[in-house]
């Protein structure tokens, strides 16, 4: 005796959010039943394991049937197969595209290609996220990337329009797309301490201030690419460290401002030239693809680690960067103020975001 067939179909599709989450997390039906039982589902309605199993199987099947639609969310609203109230549609889509930041962190900066997909097994065992869920998340990244890659206009808005995601989630996807497109190095050991949210913040800064779209949002190309002219202009900043006078003047200006205000003043004074050189060198080398990809590792190695070894507090660093960038305005010989500000404002916030243990 066995159940051959067991189907439950509602005119309005019956969806249980908790079960949906279990499905998204890549559990098998029997796992999901166990989890639900542990969560006390049996206390409701005098259910038994059989009932729970049937319900779970049914829901999982429903989600599987919906999955095809969820992959092109704009179809969800005007498909006829499932009658789902709009607020539930929104929930389904949003949850489907939500991802584990641990997973995203692993994928960050990697090429979203098939080759990487083989690494999903490793990521799965490393993060403890079910392989099925990894697949879904990875495919979501790839799908969003593929669609947005071809589109003009602002990245976040494009993602929102095509995938009907919330603003927050769309921004996260923008960061993922940006990283995948620019291929930033994020996997190095020294960068391991940085979370996905750190990178997402930095990506947001870069997108907002350094990309083509930041200047002109009617550009024809994907606004994920950094503005070439800007990167080129950054080379001009070299004068800040190459011109000895200017470097000294800059140092004295900063020291004057910070004296007595930060605890690590002496360390700062001793290190000023190294720090300034590091910042300017990073800027000037951004035109080279290799150096550009190493942006974050450079920031960590050349700035964050020295500061950390000198025990700078985040407050010290914030003050230093503030005055470091503003003092340049007082250098009369320096004529690249606009470029400088555009560069420093982003770098400053990135460094501050990344400056933690």
């Amino acid at each position: 005796m066995s159940m051959e067939l067991d189907v439950f179909v509602g005119n309005t599709t019956v969806l249980d959010q908790d079960v949906y989450q279990l499905w998204l997390d890549g559990h098998t039906v029997s796992d999901a039943v166990r989890i639900r039982m542990e969560a006390g589902a049996l206390q409701e309605c005098e259910a038994n394991a059989e009932v729970l199993h049937s319900d779970t199987t049914d829901q999982f099947r429903t989600f599987q049937m919906c999955e095809r639609l969820l992959q092109s969310p704009s179809k969800v609203a005007n498909q006829l197969l499932f009658q789902i109230p709009p607020h539930r549609q929104t929930m389904l889509i949003e949850r489907y595209y939500e991802f584990d930041s641990v997973f995203a962190r692993e994928v960050l900066g990697k090429k979203l290609s098939k080759g990487t997909k083989k690494d999903l097994d490793d990521i799965s065992s490393k993060t403890g996220i079910a392989l099925k869920s990894c697949r879904r998340q990875f495919d979501n990244f790839k799908r969003v990337f593929k669609v947005v890659e071809e589109l003009k206009g602002p990245l976040v808005e494009n993602i929102q329009r095509h995938f009907l995601l919330s603003d927050v989630l769309a921004r996260d996807y923008a960061a993922i797309v940006f990283f995948a497109n620019s291929r930033f190095e994020a996997g190095k050991r020294k960068l391991q301490y940085l979370s996905f949210q750190d990178f997402a913040f930095c990506a947001g800064q870069l997108i907002s201030y350094w990309t083509v779209g930041a200047v002109d949002n009617m550009m024809e190309d994907l606004d994920v690419d950094l503005e070439k002219d800007f990167l080129h202009d950054l080379k001009d900043l070299k004068v800040l460290v190459n011109d000895k006078d200017m470097l000294d003047q800059h140092k004295s200006l900063v020291c004057a401002q910070l004296r007595g205000k930060i605890k690590v003043f002496s360390e700062m004074e001793a290190n000023f030239k190294n720090l300034s050189r590091a910042l300017v060198n990073i800027a000037s080398k951004l035109t080279h693809t290799k150096d550009f990809r190493d942006l974050f590792i450079d920031l960590v190695e050349k700035l964050i680690e020295p500061c950390r070894s000198d025990k700078w507090t985040i407050g010290d660093l914030r003050l230093f960067l503030k005055h470091y960038s503003s003092s340049v305005h007082m250098l009369e010989a320096f004529r690249h103020q606009v470029i400088w500000d555009r560069y420093m404002s982003v770098i400053k916030s990135c460094i501050l975001k990344m400056y933690h243990d």
Binding site: M1, L5, V7, V9, R61, A77, Q79, L81, F82, Q83
Partner: protein, 991 residues
């Protein structure tokens, strides 16, 4: 040339990729009606083609308009090879033929392919221009309205109820034609779909003609069924109740039918849909012919009849037509409109229409199918049903009733054996709605009736108490104290709104499985005939016991379904149990031991007895059954529980002569020890669902399907247990699924059992769950006053009924029994029933879809797809139906040869049911509607061949497309819109 059909193909969307190379499709459309075909241009390289075609015009007879569907085929153009079909849309033109229904069909309709399912959508516009046709001899019946609803539709009133209409058409099943061997499965499926569309169109037209002949303009309670008889053909049959309806808004109405009299009479006769408090009721006086009728109950007589007819048709039906042809119990005049059969498919009646209810009458007949030789004259099938109807009629007459209400017919087919069943409730109706004005007055004068309180009148016995056709315990009515009532009442109708009910109702279900030897032809039919009475008797016993366990005394909406398979018979009876205030309090259940000497056994029995008594007490509390204490002043007053047993005996002995054969089984029943099943049933978890009946807010319709496979050799008991567990588990699953809607009640639970294959049992359930929205209740109560509230509660009482399939009725168990034995030999040894079969199948309940209605359509305006509610009920709680757009009757076939890839049988069926819902919704939306009421899934035939990775499923659904408006929107215009707007903004966000 009385009609011009116009169709315009606007656009397509979400088309499948037909050209792998380009990932695109070059689509065009063929529009076909009858033998005329038009084509659109090819719209190259797009998955969202914009054809924007001209209007294609078809000039056709209205006869064709009724019979033929408009057939739209979407194809992919291919320069070098044959064009590939993407899919089809069949559009039933019928709703456009009636001036009061829809005027245009416009919207996105799913493109359906029998192999691939839904493949995109197409936007079409369809209109019909009808020219007046004065030809008296026309074959068309355009303009006759059809309703699946088994009550007078809400925005109409009945001027006259003409009575029963039936028709059947037969054809060869394309699946079994020789050509099927060489054509593709797709071609074969499409031929079948198209044929059934044509046949149901033809059937509807023919029924319409009959209605016109009778002077009516509508069919209410239209029930259409398919019998897939395999080799021997395909039968489409329908029954309904012909009426003359009138739109309510046009009151006071001028006469709309030839028979009607003056407007003044209209004014004084309240319509079906209206309140008619305290109308004088009339009932037929007891007939002197009773005795004569009764003689047909003699078992020996029926036995001989049967043997004489056992050639190719083994009939359970006695052919006792002779002396039953006329209704002599009542003055003939008012019922001349009745035609031959005084049957009504209605289950809800306007106040004052239903006078007395006798009990359930049913008839079954086992037939051997043979090829239908001449499809144009389906005499055999007609004759079969004729017999059954005659039997029903005679049963009703035996109960002193002149009419049968809540009438339905069904079949169960296995190989070449077919069980035909019919059932209804014998009743006496007021003639008010069935005759002309003058007659009415006359008739009323001639009657010697007094005003009876409407709350109990229908319970009063219609038969002569000195000559009861079956043993029953009569008492004086507990409401009015003036008329006799039976101790138990079984009916197939819905609970009359005016009935006095104590406490709440609940689902009562009896389930039974009986093994049977594998046999061929006549032997098989004989075996089944012999089994049937026992099956029904046991079902009835179960129903009685379960009813008593719950402390109730009446069943409504009883539906008994018997399914036949190779090696077993399944019986499922479901009904809503209630406590009718007018009827006596039910006795308890007494358990008697077989071996009274054994002390431990005695102990066990008394424990059981205590458990049962406790359960009854508990149930009474749960269902709030607290009948008022009655001063015992009358003969036959209810006997306290401990005396139940002796009472049974007494009633038995009273029943003396005719029913003497029943004595044995009666005695047996008395000693009947409750089976485990029954005790289990006690623990039914209905509390959850029968919670606080207040106006319903949300409704949600669903379908769920289960198939169970049995592989062990099981005894009847084992089988019963499994079957019972199956149903219990199905119900439990439903409760669990719907837990988020609690408090809610499950309404119109419709179980369908089938034995699709040798070792499978399939059970399908359609139901609607209604949740009670507390806030809304308050709001309604405050805003629209008590009237709404009360009305809603009455509606709820109706909702509590769970209507199930065909059934028997009786006012007592013994009556039912006697009915059964009428047509089968009593002497059949019980032992035969217990013969075991080597393999059994069990199917699990297959609940059909349930639709969940959203709180308000407007609140979801963010969606580009209109929300369409579906409900098996005839109304939408908290809403007003403002227009009926026509009947929806759709038939689909789905087949796959990649079953595993589609998620196995469950995945396949799940998708298919979802697709069927989607297509129903789309067609309703295209008609301009926002709901389907009286929805039912008539047929769900599922076949699989896992070895070949194949499966096939046929589904037939029907219902009435309507436009409804929320009462809250009508009345609370100031408050509701605000909240609705809030909801819109929330819901629309991010979509």
């Amino acid at each position: 040339m009385p009609g011009r059909l116009k169709a315009k193909i606007v656009a397509g969307r979400h088309l499948p990729v037909m050209d792998r190379a380009s990932d695109l499709t070059d689509a065009f459309v063929e529009v076909k009606f009858g033998n005329t075909t038009f084509k659109t241009d090819v719209y190259p390289k797009s998955l969202n083609p914009q054809w924007n075609s001209e209007w294609f015009k078809f000039e056709v007879d209205d006869e064709d308009l009724q019979d033929e569907p408009l057939q739209i085929t979407v194809l992919d153009h291919d320069t070098y090879s044959a064009n590939d079909a993407i899919g089809k849309v069949y559009i039933d033109i019928d709703p456009l033929l009636c001036s009061e229904a829809a005027t245009v069909i416009s919207g996105w309709l799913p493109i359906y392919d029998t192999i691939h399912g839904i493949r995109g959508e197409i936007n079409v516009l369809v209109k019909v221009d009808l020219f007046n046709d004065l030809n008296r001899f026309r074959q068309s019946s355009c303009g006759v309205k059809f309703f699946c609803t088994t009550s007078i539709p809400r925005c109409y009133r009945a001027i006259m109820v003409h009575g029963f209409v039936e028709e059947l058409v037969v054809n060869e099943d394309p699946e079994y034609q020789w050509i099927d061997r060489i054509r593709t499965p797709r071609a074969s499926n499409e031929a079948r779909q198209r044929l059934i569309f044509l046949m149901s169109g033809e059937l509807q037209r023919k029924i319409g003609l009959k209605v016109l002949e009778m002077g009516g303009n509508a069919v209410v309670g239209y029930l259409q069924c398919f019998d897939l008889e395999g080799e021997s053909g395909l039968v489409v049959r329908a029954i309904g109740t012909a009426c003359t309806l009138e739109k309510m808004s046009t009151f006071p109405a001028t006469a709309t039918h030839p028979n009607n009299s003056s407007p003044s009479k209209d004014m004084k006769e309240p319509g079906f849909g209206e309140e008619a408090p305290g109308v004088p009721l009339s009932s037929g006086p007891p007939t002197p012919l009773r005795a004569q009728t009764f003689s047909s109950f003699s078992p020996s007589k029926s036995y001989s009849r049967q043997s004489s007819s056992s050639d190719t048709e083994l009939s359970l039906t006695p052919k006792t037509v002779g002396h039953l042809c006329h209704f002599c119990m009542i003055p003939p005049s008012p019922f001349c409109v009745f035609q031959e059969y005084p049957f009504f498919t209605l289950t809800i009646f306007p106040p004052g229409f239903l006078l007395h209810v006798g009990g359930v009458v049913s008839a079954r007949s086992v037939k051997l199918l043979d090829r239908i030789h001449n499809p144009d004259e389906p005499e055999t099938r007609d004759a079969w049903w004729e017999e059954i109807r005659q039997e029903i009629k005679s049963h009703a007459k035996a109960l002193g009733c002149h009419a049968v209400v809540g009438y339905s017919e069904s079949t169960s087919i296995c190989e070449e054996v077919c069980i035909l069943s019919a059932s209804g409730t014998a009743a006496i109706l007021s003639s008010r709605f069935m005759q002309d004005g003058p007659l009415d007055t006359e008739h009323r004068l001639s009657q010697f009736e007094e005003v009876v309180s409407p709350g109990c009148g229908f319970c009063h016995i219609p038969y002569d108490e000195l000559n009861i056709p079956f043993p029953a315990q009569l008492t004086y009515c507990y409401c009015c104290r003036r008329y006799k009532v039976p101790d138990v009442l079984f009916t197939t109708i819905d609970l009359p709104t005016e009935a006095n009910v104590t406490g709440k109702g609940c689902l009562i279900q009896a389930r039974l499985c009986r093994t049977k030897k594998k046999a061929q032809g006549e032997g098989n039919a004989m075996a089944i005939s012999n089994l049937l009475p026992f099956l029904e008797y046991e079902l009835h016993t179960q129903l009685m016991n379960k009813l008593k366990l719950r402390g109730m005394n009446a069943l409504f909406g009883l539906r008994i379904q018997i399914s036949v398979g190779e090696t077993m018979l399944l019986g499922l009876a479901s009904a809503t149990g209630v406590y009718l205030t007018a009827l006596p309090s039910p006795g308890g259940i007494q358990i008697a031991g077989k071996t009274p000497s054994d002390i431990t056994y005695e102990q066990h029995i008394s424990n059981m007895q205590k458990k049962i008594n406790d359960t009854i007490t508990k149930n009474k509390e749960q269902y709030e059954i607290n009948p008022p204490e009655v001063v015992e002043e009358i003969i036959g007053s209810p006997i306290p529980e401990p005396r139940q047993r002796s009472r049974l005996f007494r009633s038995h002995s009273e029943s003396s002569d005719e029913v003497s054969e029943i004595d044995l089984s009666h005695g047996k029943k008395d000693a009947f020890v409750l089976e485990i099943d029954d005790t289990d049933a006690v623990e039914d978890i209905h509390a959850l669902l029968t919670d606080s009946p207040t106006p319903a807010g949300n409704t949600s319709m669903f379908t769920s399907v289960r198939v169970f496979r049995l592989n062990a050799n099981l005894t009847n008991q084992g089988l019963n247990k499994i079957f019972s567990d199956l149903c219990e588990n199905l119900l439990k699953s439903l409760y669990f699924k719907l837990r988020s809607m609690v408090p809610c009640c499950l309404c119109h639970l419709n179980f369908t059992v089938a034995i699709p294959e040798d070792e499978l049992i399939q059970v399908a359930v359609t139901a609607v769950a209604m949740s009670f929205d507390k806030e809304q209740t308050l709001e309604n109560g405050k805003r629209s006053g008590e009237k709404t509230l009360i009305k809603a509660i009455t509606e709820n009482d109706e909702q509590l009924q769970f209507n199930l399939e065909p059934c028997l009725v009786s006012s007592t168990p013994f009556f039912l029994f006697s009915l059964l034995f009428l047509s089968t030999p009593l002497s059949f040894p019980l032992a035969l029933l217990l013969s075991t079969a080597s393999s059994m199948e069990k199917a699990s309940p297959l609940p059909e879809g349930r639709s969940r209605s959203l709180r308000s359509n407007r609140s979801y305006s963010g969606s580009s797809v209109a929300v369409v509610k579906m409900t098996p009920l005839s109304f939408i709680p908290g809403a007003k139906i403002i227009k009926y757009l026509g009947i929806i009757n759709m038939f689909f076939i789905r087949e796959t040869s990649s079953l595993r890839e589609e998620g196995g049988v469950s995945g396949f069926l799940h998708t298919f049911i979802a697709e069927v819902f989607a297509m129903v919704r789309a067609h309703v939306a295209a008609l301009g509607g926002n709901a389907v009421v009286s929805y039912s899934m008539k047929e769900c035939v599922f076949m699989e061949n896992p070895n070949k990775n194949q499966a096939q499923c046929l589904i037939n659904v029907s219902g009435d497309a309507v436009i409804f408006v929320r009462e809250s929107e009508l009345e609370l215009t100031s408050v509701q819109p605000q909240s609705a707007t809030t909801q819109t903004s929330n819901g629309g966000e991010g979509t």
